[in-house]
Amino acid sequence: MDDMAIAVKPKNTFLRGISNESFISLFMITVLIVLYGVAGAIVPNFFLPRNVLNLVMNYWFTIILGIGVTFIMVTGNFDLSVGGNIAMTGVLSVYFCQAAGVSQNALANGLGLPYGVALALAMVCALAIGGINAFFVTKLKVPSIIVTLGTMMIARGVAQVVTQGAQRNTSLPDIFGVVGNASVGNTPIKISVVIMAVLVVVAFVVERKTVFGRRTYLIGANREAARLSGVKVNRHLAYLYLTSAFLAGVTGILLASEFKAGVSGRATGYEFDALVIVLLGGTSINGGFGSVLGTVVGALVLGVVTSAATGLLLSPDWQFLLKGIVTFLAILAQRYALDRRKS
């Protein structure tokens, strides 16, 4: 009966032919274009090409984090530890790299390790946070929102202790500040943005084309059925948490390099920005549904709103409010559109 009804009534053939994920991405791109048009109409100079470029460039770190968080949320889990992990990895990379015993000031003395070793060691620490997440979520079956809330504070705490609640920015070799500030050729495009772009492409391919990507969706769609269908659920989740921690670590090192400083308060709230863009991108908080492409669109939506607010010379306090309202409306509209499509 049901089959027949749909067969005789082929309305929306174009939209019917695509997956629900693509539908949401298209929907959010429409939202993005509308918002962009509105912002352009009321904000002076909004359409300048440099502005468009800035939209992407200013959000490279949120997008990198969003990649890991998207995959984890597709399995039906959370990762709130990424912001703290950025601070910790950044601070540790500075501490490991700072010259040893050169000053009376404790914050000016580090371990004096060679640059490469310092970064590698900092990445090991970043992965350790992912390891803790994976262990508690898979082996001890603690809900991921609790586990990663814990590791978020642990990582932030390490950053605070190592910097005594402030920052470390002296006795660093020149090379430390290179990667975060380098640009591609003569363009204003930073290496960090290129890394982001590469990661997005890789993530997109993994999500759409690989067995690993498929299994991520299976776990989110039905964890028990996935297990009974031979998916090594625990191992898979562990890989995802390690990947997310790796991405946070890379971001931490890039940001520390950009400012040539390890700041304990760096990336405060980034875990929530990442969460917001993932949700704006249409990923379901219950798992089994979502896409990295959607997350990128989500970041752009957030970017348009923020820069429009800046262009209108609104104070940062108002920006927060505006971001909140837009997020809320966009997600409501999205759910409504998806329900309409499904029924």
């Binding site: 009966m1 049901d2 089959d3 749909i6 067969a7 997956s19 084309k209 690989t210 067995v211 690993f212 990507g213 498929r214 299994r215 969706y217 299976l218 769609a221 039905n222 028990e224 059925a225 996935a226 297990r227 009974l228 269908s229 031979g230 998916v231 090594k232 089994g288 549904f289 499904k342």
Partner: protein, 493 residues
């Protein structure tokens, strides 16, 4: 008021593809214990669901004390005088006995609780079972005492009818006797009990009248004293079941593929058997006999003591190892264990053997589509596109997709746990044909089922399970004494 508290006339309930209750009419006399029996799928549960308001009838009338009775939900049913003791008890563990008794009937002033009616409730409970302290937390009570709390609540809310769905399934022998005493006492309180049980001896011990149902139809309603013995009741339940479809294999293989030795865990007790290549064996038993647990043990989901050898290798305890070794499971709970309902048919079909449609970790979409199309054709899955969400398919088509998953896994041993539960007759016979074809192609199959005719129709060897113990092994093809089988699996010696 007449003698009958409940009169059911021409009751019909249809689901898409199935008539669960088919033109049922019978009366229930006031102040009696009225038993309802029948095999799984006979229509008992649907009938009860209509009475309690969990389902709405398609046609027919029900009169309670001569007045038309319709319940829109279980609370509505209770307000009108029909309470139910479900198998999953409806008590709140964290509250005390007294709080549970008044739950949902609290009297409040401006939202603050007032102590009204609690005394009466507690009196009823004291009357039924003095040993239960109303101040105790319900979580500290045994299942039997929780049942008594629920009965007290039903009595105190002046229910005329209390439906009890297998109340003895989870309680001990001593507790059963105490429960029976309470049930007999209810008659004196003007309460009619509708009693459902698979344990036939209880019917004779407790019942005043019995209604037998089979395949959705009403077979007979009689005073229990008019029924000679257990075997007469069994005959009414199964009718003249003709098992004509079974055809024995022409050249049975002698190669043993699976050897289960002394497998025990908390639901199984020293289960041992062997399975030959190309053989179909069936485990028959009622709900709770340990069928699902045995399937899960073989598949490596649950732990066990003992050993299971497949193709001369000891099996390791994990589903993905079982799949690698060549075993696939069609689980009992299709929607929660077998299917990814939010994914499409294409997204479901190949999941148990991704290696076959991928190369160095990359999925080949073309071969995935080809395979899916092939299974849709082969298993005759009714859909116009493979991109349809599986949640929107009928039960039979969903089950066919679970089968395609397992077939694509290239398993040599298929474990089928209730393979035709909740699907319509047409799809059932299609699935039987699939199973026979698989065995013909040399696959070995174990079916776990609580439907006897299904087991007898397709299995070469039948094992009877009762409370985790293998009671009997029967070679099919000989004369099947279904009465004796039912006698065994209902606990008869």
């Amino acid at each position: 008021m007449g003698d009958n508290v409940l009169e059911i006339r021409n009751l019909i309930k249809t689901f898409p593809g199935v008539t669960a209750v088919n033109d049922v009419s019978f009366d229930i006399r006031r102040n009696t214990v009225h038993c309802l029996v029948g095999e799984n799928g006979a229509g008992k549960s649907t009938l009860i669901k209509i009475l309690t308001g969990a389902e709405q009838r398609s046609y027919g009338t029900i009169r309670l004390n001569g007045d038309d009775y319709v319940a829109h939900n279980p609370k509505d049913a209770r307000d009108k005088g029909i309470s139910t003791l479900f198998q999953e008890l409806n008590v709140v563990d964290q509250l005390t006995v007294a709080e549970n008794l008044t739950l949902g009937m609290e009297v409040t002033t401006f939202g603050f609780l007032r102590n009204v009616g609690t005394e009466k409730m507690i009196d009823v409970l004291k009357n039924l079972e003095p040993s239960i302290d109303p101040r105790r937390k319900v979580s500290t009570l045994s299942v039997a005492k929780k049942q008594i709390v629920e009965i007290a609540k039903a009595v105190a809310s002046e229910s005329e009818i209390i439906i009890m769905d297998e109340p003895t399934a989870a309680i001990s022998e001593g507790e059963i006797q105490r429960l029976f005493k309470i049930i007999r006492g209810l008659r004196d309180k003007s309460v009619t009990v509708i009693y459902i049980s698979h344990r036939l001896d209880e019917i004779f011990e407790l019942g005043d009248a019995v209604t037998v149902m089979r395949d959705g139809r009403h077979i007979d309603t009689r005073p229990v004293s008019d029924i000679r013995d257990r075997s007469e009741l069994i005959r009414m339940m199964i009718g003249k079941t003709v098992f004509e479809k079974y055809e024995p294999k022409e050249n049975p293989s002698t190669e043993t593929i699976l050897k289960v030795e002394d497998v025990s865990n908390d639901k199984l007790c020293n289960v041992s058997f062997e399975l030959r290549k190309g053989e179909i064996i069936g485990f028959y038993g009622l709900v709770g006999a340990g069928k699902t647990e045995l399937a899960r043990a073989i598949y490596g989901v649950d732990r066990y003591d003992g050993s299971i050898t497949f193709k001369e290798k000891t099996l390791e305890s994990s589903p993905h190892k079982a799949i690698e070794a060549g075993i696939a499971l069609v689980p009992e709970e299709r929607r929660s264990e077998g299917l990814f309902t939010i994914l499409t048919i294409r997204g479901n079909t190949c999941v148990m053997n991704m290696d076959k449609i991928s190369r160095s970790g990359f999925v080949n979409n073309q071969s995935e589509k080809r395979v899916t199309a092939e299974y849709i054709r082969q298993l005759n899955i009714a859909t116009h596109t493979m991109e349809k969400e599986t949640a929107k398919l009928s039960g039979g088509n969903q089950q066919k997709i679970v089968f395609s998953k397992c077939l694509f896994a290239d398993a040599d041993l298929l474990l089928l746990d209730e393979p035709t539960r909740g699907i319509d007759v047409g799809a059932k016979s299609e699935i039987y044909q699939i199973i026979r074809d698989l065995a013909h192609d040399g696959k070995s199959i174990i079916i776990f089922s609580s439907e006897l005719h299904e087991i007898v129709n397709i299995c070469d060897t039948i094992y009877l399970l009762y409370e985790g113990v293998l009671k009997e092994r029967i070679e099919n093809g000989t004369v099947i004494d279904s009465e004796k089988i039912l006698h065994t699996v209902t606990g008869g010696e």
